[in-house]
């Protein structure tokens, strides 16, 4: 299967997207049709108030539905059944097509890979790759310049429009009308503080920082380095004392003639 296939469907992403789009379109069409039929259906009976006579007594049961109503229902049912059958046919066809496409995707992908690899190796062999790189660099720089120009243009246009809007507004008049002090007085700062829930916020920030891990790691690293240094130093002192005793005091060949493995951790 394709590289994008997942365990559930095993189809490439493009095919899956196409299938999902078709599903959504069909579903939307079905919903629209259902809504239309619901709208056009005649209500089965009037409200219960109409089922009483003028005297307030219970009305006799309504007369049997005329033949045409039954025909309409039969026609509607048949049409719905036929529509569903058509949808089923389309579904089966789509599935088959998707399966075929998924089966075809693998060789196509393989062929594309081979073509791309071959092209790359050929290009790198005869120097075309360098030329392509040069061209790509030129194109990239050109594109950067274009983007910069566009961004500048957009920004200046935005600034100009804002400036025009601000110039058209009489800000002072608006400020005169608005009593800012009253607005500020109406703001319940305590409620804002309560709603912010600062302890929870601080807790979350501290959780994100994970101070404990930092302290743990750094102290563990320092401790490991210290212990390593102690081991290396003490082993060196051992060797020195042994060598001194062997050479100076006992005047014999040193016992650690064969160099031992360096104690302590492996060198970085």
């Amino acid at each position: 299967m394709g590289a994008n296939g997942t365990a559930g469907t095993g189809r490439p992403a493009a095919l899956r997207a196409a299938g999902r789009t078709g599903r959504v379109v069909a579903g939307a069409a079905g919903l629209a049709i259902r809504a239309l039929t619901e709208l056009t259906r005649t209500p089965p009976d009037g409200p219960s108030r109409a089922r009483r006579t003028a005297d307030g007594l219970a009305a006799p049961p309504p007369p049997p539905a005329p033949y045409s109503v039954k025909t309409t229902a039969v026609v509607r049912l048949t049409a719905a059944r036929l529509g569903e059958a058509a949808l089923g046919l389309a579904t089966v066809t789509t599935r088959r097509a998707l399966d075929v496409a998924a089966a075809a995707a693998m060789p196509v992908e393989a062929a594309a890979t081979i073509v791309v690899r071959t092209g790359t190796s050929i290009a790198s062999r005869n120097g075309a790759a360098g030329r392509i790189d040069r061209l790509a660099r030129i194109g990239r720089e050109e594109q950067r310049r274009n983007e910069r120009e566009a961004a500048l243009l957009l920004r200046s246009a935005w600034r100009r429009s804002i400036g025009r809007a601000v110039a058209a507004t009489d800000v002072d008049a608006v400020l005169d009308e608005v009593d800012l002090d009253a607005v500020v007085r109406r703001v319940d700062l305590d409620a804002v503080v309560v709603r912010l829930d600062i302890p929870a916020l601080v807790e979350r920030v501290l959780d994100d920082i994970d101070l404990g891990r930092i302290v743990r790691e750094s102290s563990a690293g320092m401790a490991a380095e210290t212990v390593d240094a102690v081991r290396v130093r003490s082993a060196g002192a051992d060797r020195a004392i042994n060598g001194f005793v062997d050479r100076v005091v006992l005047r014999r060949p040193p016992r650690d003639a064969v160099p031992a493995a360096e104690p302590g951790r492996a060198p970085p």
Partner: protein, 140 residues
Amino acid sequence: MTAAGLVSRCAASVVDVGVVAAATTLAGVVVSGIRYTVDGPPFTFPPLPGWAFGAGHTLLVVLYLTAGWTLTGRTPGQLVLGLRVITADGRPPGPLRALVRALVCVVFPIGVLWVLVSSRTLAVHDLVARTVLVYDPPPW
């Protein structure tokens, strides 16, 4: 693997002495705290005769060394210094061998000086228990 020399052995012993002293102090503080809670002030360490203190400490040290060498092949001090006690087959000593080594260590501590003249850098307790103390830092 080389046998460890005098400095490493003494440094490991210093660490071990610190560990045992800390354990003794902690036990004393706990016992005194219990006594203080039950009997009231003053807060004093339990009045232990000197011989009982010495004998208890000796027993504690022997147990400590035997347990360390039997279970992992090293005491905490030897762990810090990256040393390990092994027998001829390269494994940690058994309980009996570790007990013999610990007893010789405690009774005749000066025997560690034999590492200076021993051609294989062995101490007296190594010779008696037929063990070797090698440089073998733990992998972590």
